[in-house]
Structures are given as structure tokens and as C-alpha cells.
């Protein structure tokens, strides 16, 4: 038994982390949050050079052929630096959708384009989890109409992979009949949109789209959990550093038990999450009968622990945590958005209960 990361996995994560530490420093993230899209582009190019987006693309299509654990480690690094990338949707979920439901021609075509950088595919699966306001797409022939809500990965997407009930389809962003509504969420480090489609031509994936969507959601959730893990790691580190530096009553606030205990509680809750995320990610490729359950446990648990860390870390920073000065809120809000995307914790736990025949 060896429960831990391999040397290669550690090195992969370190290299992404080292790159993002400077490429995605807070000042750049602020610029992106204020509307300058260039950081998304430069990260896309920089990560492409490192080969990062291609981890899940099989080698035969020009990718690295690595696993979901590697993808999760990368996403964790992105959460750590609140990086505006569409990795979860474009390079995990969309790639998995093609791998699972594309026929040979579709795989060749689309995975090739993804590997070559000419297709970046945003993903809209919200309605496969739970539809509000009657949203949903209808396919008629090879045209699709209706609304897809909370479509992820809109920063640079050239295409979107969307659910239409039992089908999975791809549309080009610039097709006639596509109308986009940009959404403003608390999380300004990533873009989500609503899509309203009217008779938009689409490619329908040929294989079992129901199973493929389920896999995409499982893996997407693991990655959102990993993103929150990385963001929470950073918030704890910032809290500890601040508590050593900030003095009140002639002593560092970190010398008050109240503050120490806040930090210790954050760590006590988060450390097991690291193992849970590793296992859930590993299970996606290697423990198929637990993959769906572990994804749900990781997603819902990181939603709770993430929320706790986000709030507690802000408290440790006092009034400073509430201001924009330290930018701590970018992490707070990223974790807040991860909690709701691809299903809030109650929704996800109910699915987990059903999976086990408990409901």
C-alpha cells in the first residue's frame, strides 16, 4: 500500500504551481476581474506550452494520456492562485465527453483540434443536474434550440458542449442563432454565461451520451473540489502568515488561543480533504465502482470545508479580511462559486444517497 503522490505527480503539480505563482499573481487576477481578458489568454498560451491542458487527451490524439488525479493536482494549483483558466470545463469535462461518447471520427477531429489549440470547448451540463426556470435544450434533426444555463469556461471558448436530455452535442460559439448573456457572479476569476439557442447547427456525439454526461459531471465535480482545496490551502497559509505579523495588545494575534484555534480548526478540517480529493480523483480512473460516489463526497465535503475556511480565514484577518486591500475575497468567492456550480452540497449528497440505494 502506498497512499500518496508519485514523484512525477508531485513534479507536475510543482511545475504548474511555479508557473502560476508568477504568471497568475494577484495583480494580474485583479486585472482580469476588472475586465481585461488578456490574463486568460496568456495563461492559456503558457499552460499550453507546458502541455498542461492535454493531460487527459489520449496520446494517440496528441495528448499526454494522464489521469484524473493529475488533472486534479493541476486544478488544485489553479485554485491556489485563483487563476482564470477554463481547465475544468475545456480540458477535463469536454475531453472526457469526447472520449466517452465520440465515435472514431469525432475523437480524431475534436481531440485533435483540442490538442492543436484550435478548439476550446466550454461546457453546459447544468440541466443534467437540475433545471430551474424550465431551462433545457431540445434537439430536432441536427439543430438545437432552447436555453443552457450557467455554461462554464466562457473565457476563451470557441465551442460549447451541451446537454440536450439524452444527447450530448457541440456547437460553434459563432453560429447563427446563438445568443449569449454574460452573467456577473461573485467570482470574477471565471466567466459563466447563459446561452439561448434558436435552430443552431450542432454535432451530436454518437456514443452513449447519458453515461458520458455522468462521467463528465463526476470528473468536473472532483476538479471543483480540487480547486476549492487549493484555494483553501492558500487562505490558511495567508491566515497563519498574517497572524504572526499582525500585533494587537503588544503581541502577535497568532499568540491568542482564539486565533491559533481558528487556524488549527481550518487545518484539521482541510487535511483529510486533501486525501479525499486524491482518492476521489484516483477512483475516476482506477476504482470504477466507487468513482461516482467518491466524486459526490469530495464535491459536497469540500463545499462545506471550503466555506468554513473561507469564512474563518477572513475572520483571522479582521477588518483587513473584509476589505479589498489584500484581495482575500477572490479566494472567498471562488470557493463560494465552486460550492454551487455543478450542484450544491445538498443536491450532490442526495444523489450520493440514491447511488447507495438509501433514498
Amino acid at each position: 500500500m502506498y497512499f500518496g503522490l508519485s514523484q512525477d505527480q508531485t513534479m507536475l503539480q510543482d511545475s504548474v504551481q511555479r508557473y502560476l505563482e508568477s504568471a497568475s499573481e494577484l495583480a494580474h487576477v485583479r486585472g482580469f476581474a476588472e475586465g481585461d481578458n488578456s490574463l486568460a489568454e496568456s495563461l492559456q498560451n503558457g499552460l499550453m506550452e507546458l502541455g498542461v491542458p492535454l493531460v487527459l487527451v489520449p496520446e494517440e490524439f496528441g495528448g499526454l494520456g494522464l489521469g484524473v488525479l493529475e488533472a486534479a493536482l493541476i486544478q488544485q494549483a489553479m485554485g491556489r492562485f485563483v487563476s482564470p483558466t477554463s481547465f475544468t470545463s475545456a480540458y477535463a469535462m469536454a475531453v472526457i465527453g469526447l472520449r466517452e461518447a465520440g465515435d472514431d471520427d469525432q475523437k480524431n477531429d475534436w481531440l485533435g483540434r483540442i490538442a492543436g489549440g484550435s478548439a476550446i470547448i466550454g461546457v453546459g451540463l447544468t440541466e443534467a443536474i437540475g433545471a430551474r426556470e424550465g431551462a433545457g435544450l431540445k434537439l430536432s434533426g441536427d439543430k438545437v434550440s432552447g436555453r443552457a444555463s450557467f455554461v462554464m469556461g466562457a473565457e476563451l471558448a470557441s465551442h460549447f458542449m451541451l446537454t440536450a436530455g439524452k444527447e450530448l452535442l457541440i456547437i460553434a460559439r459563432d453560429s447563427a442563432g446563438v445568443s449569449e448573456t454574460a452573467l456577473t457572479t461573485i467570482d470574477k476569476t471565471r466567466h459563466v454565461i447563459m446561452l439561448d439557442l434558436q435552430d443552431v447547427p450542432c454535432t451530436v456525439l454518437a456514443g452513449d451520451a447519458v453515461a458520458a454526461q455522468a462521467r463528465m459531471i463526476d470528473i468536473g465535480r472532483v476538479l471543483l473540489a480540487a480547486d476549492s482545496l487549493g484555494a483553501a490551502d492558500m487562505m490558511i497559509e495567508k491566515s497563519v502568515a498574517y497572524s504572526k505579523d499582525r500585533e494587537q495588545f503588544n503581541r502577535p494575534i497568532g499568540s491568542f488561543q482564539a486565533v491559533k484555534h481558528m487556524c488549527a480548526d481550518m487545518v484539521a478540517k482541510l487535511e483529510p480533504c486533501r486525501s479525499l480529493v486524491w482518492y476521489a480523483a484516483y477512483a475516476q480512473d482506477h476504482v470504477s465502482d466507487e468513482a461516482a460516489l467518491m466524486s459526490r463526497l469530495a464535491k459536497s465535503h469540500l463545499a462545506e470545508v471550503g466555506k468554513y475556511v473561507a469564512r474563518t480565514s477572513t475572520e483571522v484577518h479582521g477588518g483587513m479580511g473584509f476589505t479589498d486591500l489584500l484581495g482575500l475575497h477572490y479566494w472567498f468567492k471562488r470557493i463560494g462559486a465552486n460550492r454551487q456550480l455543478l450542484g450544491g452540497p445538498e443536491t450532490v449528497r442526495e444523489e450520493a444517497a440514491k447511488l447507495q440505494g438509501w433514498s
Partner: protein, 397 residues
């Protein structure tokens, strides 16, 4: 225990309801209204005239002059919350400065400031915290040195809410640098137009500039602008801090939030099913309902204690801690039931309830920190409330 109000109070309640029916249309909305909006000032005039604001304050200073009566105060709060009508202006001037002046101000200060503050014409900010003096407020360093008939002030305040809109500031400054830290502070009132004051808005996590940094460079303030004596500022400030903590954690506001969440849950549907039919959300709602009512009844107990002129003890000490926490968790439930729609913000399309719940969620966390953080509250509850040993003090290095 007797929950019945005597006929006098039932009549009073009927009067409040009749007033609300008649004047409701003049009330500004509960959501953000500009501090100086005409609508808000007019509403304040109507409330003052009928005794629903500044009810017990002396007539000579612009109040209504009624006998203090905590039960009537309670009835007013309940009926206004029930009608979803905002009460009078509740700024730091009205809630903190006015009670302080009534208790400790000179006759001239009372006449000069109270009526204008009550009417909403004069807006105040609270200049207490400094970059180096938050929880340890008494370590503040902004210096005021006497020069002729003036104090000359130099230093910096931070997290000063509404300083960018305020006409006046009530400010803590160090006047006796050689005295022990709690005995060297004075409490001054001055205009924000005084030369040498610079206000820089500070953006917060909500995306708005809810507070400011305030810089003082050779600001000259007449020595007559002091409340209390030189070196008594800590005592004067503590009078207002008590008022601030009472103001954070209003149980009626929590109850009306709870009801709004129940409405959202009845109206929102996922896959065609009402969220109220979801047993998990419903359970969270009812668990919070129990807490809200516990706090509401705790508030009634505090009212009785105040009628009986007794200390409410622990029941009073926990209000800020529990009230702010409860509000934060109510906002959290509202966001959770809205799912992805719960993360929409600012001016987004498809926004629910003007994005109010996210703002609450963040701002309530701010309130958990501000006005004496949760950790400081717990220190007070355990040390002063439960008589536990104090943490040993660390001497200045």
C-alpha cells in the same frame, strides 16, 4: 410569565398599525436608500412627528418626549418589521453619538447637534479604529496637541464607515501621551470639512466602498469640541460601544429574513419541484427558525429586564455574537437554496432579490468582525460574564 399586553398596550399597537396603514406609501424601500435621499428625510420627519423615531428623546432636542417604555419600543419594532417598513434612520450618529451626548455632552453640544442628527440632516461617522488599533482600540495613536484654543490633530483612522458622506465625525484621539493608554484618550467632535482632513474610500469584499481611510494633517479643532474631560475619552467611547453592540443583531430583522427565505423556497422550482418540498432545505429552514425565535424571545427577556431596570446578564452579552452569526447563516441558506442563481451578483441578468443575499452574506461576516470581533465577544462573555480568569497582559516591549 404573562404574554398579554394590557389594554393600554393593545391600543398602542392598534395606533401603530393605523399609522402604518395610512403612511406606508411614504416609506422608502428596505433596500439601499441613499443617506440623503429626499424620500428618506421625509419619512424621518413623519416618524419623528408621530413618535416612531427618537421616541423618548427630549422635545427640546427634537425628540418626541415620551416616557421611556421598552414595551412600546418593542411593539413599534414588531409592527414595522411585520409591515416590512423601515424604521427611522439608524446611523452611527443617531444610535451612538446622540445617546452619548445626552449622557455626557454639554448643554451647548446637545443643542447644536442632537436635533439636526435626529432629522437626518447631519450625518456622522465614527473615527475610532486605526491601522494599529482594532481589537486593541485603546492603543490608538492619532495625536491631538493643544495649541492656544485649539487641538491640532495628526494621524490616521481606518474602516470609518460613511466618512465620505458624513458632515461630522466623533473621533478618539490621544491627548495625554504620557498617561496609561486608557487614560490618555479624548473624545472630540468636528466637521469633516475642517481643513487638513483627507478621506480615501476603501473598497470591501462586497465590491463597494463601505468604508474609508481618514487622514488628519494639522487639523485644528477648538478645545470646546471635547465631550467629557481630557483623558476621559475611553469612558465616553465605551458608553457608545454599548449602544453599537445593541444595534447589531436585531431579532425582528432576522425574523423577516427567515420569512423571505421561506417565500423563495416556495417560489423556486428545480425540475418542476418546489424547494419547500425538499426535506433537507426545509429542515435547515426550520432549524434556523428555532434559533430566530429563541433570539426573538431572548429579546423579549431583555425588554422585560429593561422595564424592571435589571441587568439582563448573559442574555444581553450574547446578542451581538449570536445575532450576527444567525444573520450570516440565514443568508447562507438563501444562497444555497438558489443554487447557481445564488452566486449571481451586482447587476447580473437573472439576479434574484437584487443580489441582496450575497451582500448580506459578506456584510454580515463584516459585522461578525466589526464592532468587537466574535473572538473579543467571547473573551468578554467568558471573562466578564462567567468570571473566568483574564488572559495575562503582555507588557509593552
Amino acid at each position: 410569565m404573562n404574554l398579554n399586553f394590557t389594554a393600554e398596550y393593545e391600543d398602542f399597537r392598534a395606533d401603530v398599525r393605523a399609522f402604518l396603514d395610512k403612511h406606508k406609501a411614504d416609506a422608502p424601500s428596505m433596500a439601499n436608500v441613499g443617506l440623503r435621499s429626499e424620500k428618506r428625510l421625509k419619512w424621518q420627519r413623519i416618524l419623528l412627528e408621530h413618535g416612531y423615531a427618537a421616541r423618548t428623546l427630549p422635545k427640546q432636542y427634537g425628540g418626541f418626549g415620551a416616557e421611556p417604555d421598552s414595551l412600546k419600543q418593542r411593539i413599534i419594532a414588531e409592527e414595522f418589521a411585520r409591515a416590512k417598513v423601515p424604521g427611522g434612520i439608524a446611523g452611527q450618529g443617531i444610535n451612538m453619538l446622540v445617546p452619548t451626548l445626552l449622557e455626557l455632552g454639554t448643554e451647548e453640544q446637545k443643542e447644536k447637534y442632537i436635533a439636526k442628527t435626529l432629522s437626518g440632516e447631519m450625518i456622522w461617522c465614527q473615527g475610532y479604529s486605526e491601522p494599529g488599533a482594532g481589537s486593541d482600540l485603546a492603543s490608538l495613536r492619532t495625536a491631538a496637541v493643544v495649541d492656544g484654543d485649539d487641538f491640532v490633530i495628526n494621524g490616521q483612522k481606518i474602516w470609518t464607515s460613511t466618512a465620505n458622506q458624513a458632515d461630522m465625525i466623533f473621533c478618539l484621539v490621544r491627548t495625554e501621551p504620557d498617561a496609561p493608554k486608557h487614560q490618555g484618550i479624548s473624545y472630540l467632535l468636528f466637521s469633516m470639512d475642517t481643513p487638513g482632513i483627507e478621506v480615501r474610500p476603501l473598497m470591501t469584499m462586497t465590491g463597494r466602498a463601505e468604508f474609508n481611510e481618514v487622514f488628519f494633517t494639522d487639523v485644528r479643532v477648538p478645545t470646546s469640541q471635547i465631550v467629557g474631560q481630557r483623558g476621559e475619552g475611553w469612558m465616553v467611547a465605551n458608553a457608545t460601544l454599548t449602544h453599537e453592540r445593541g444595534m447589531l443583531g436585531d431579532p425582528d430583522a432576522a425574523l423577516s429574513r427567515l420569512k423571505s427565505i421561506a417565500e423563495i423556497m416556495q417560489n423556486e422550482h428545480v425540475d418542476g419541484k418546489s424547494l419547500m418540498d425538499n426535506p433537507v432545505y426545509r429542515d435547515r429552514l426550520v432549524a434556523l427558525e428555532a434559533e430566530v425565535y429563541a433570539m426573538k424571545f431572548n429579546g423579549m427577556r431583555l425588554t422585560t429586564a429593561s422595564v424592571e431596570k435589571k441587568s439582563a446578564g448573559l442574555a444581553g452579552m450574547i446578542v451581538k455574537l449570536q445575532g450576527c452569526e444567525l444573520n450570516h447563516r440565514l443568508a447562507e441558506l438563501a444562497i444555497d437554496v438558489m443554487g447557481e442563481y445564488g452566486i449571481l451578483f451586482e447587476d447580473s441578468p437573472f439576479l434574484r432579490d437584487h443580489g441582496l443575499w450575497q451582500t448580506h452574506y459578506m456584510f454580515d461576516l463584516g459585522l461578525i468582525i466589526g464592532g468587537g470581533s466574535a473572538q473579543i465577544q467571547k473573551n468578554i462573555i467568558s471573562e466578564r460574564g462567567l468570571g473566568m480568569p483574564r488572559e495575562p497582559k503582555v507588557a509593552k516591549a
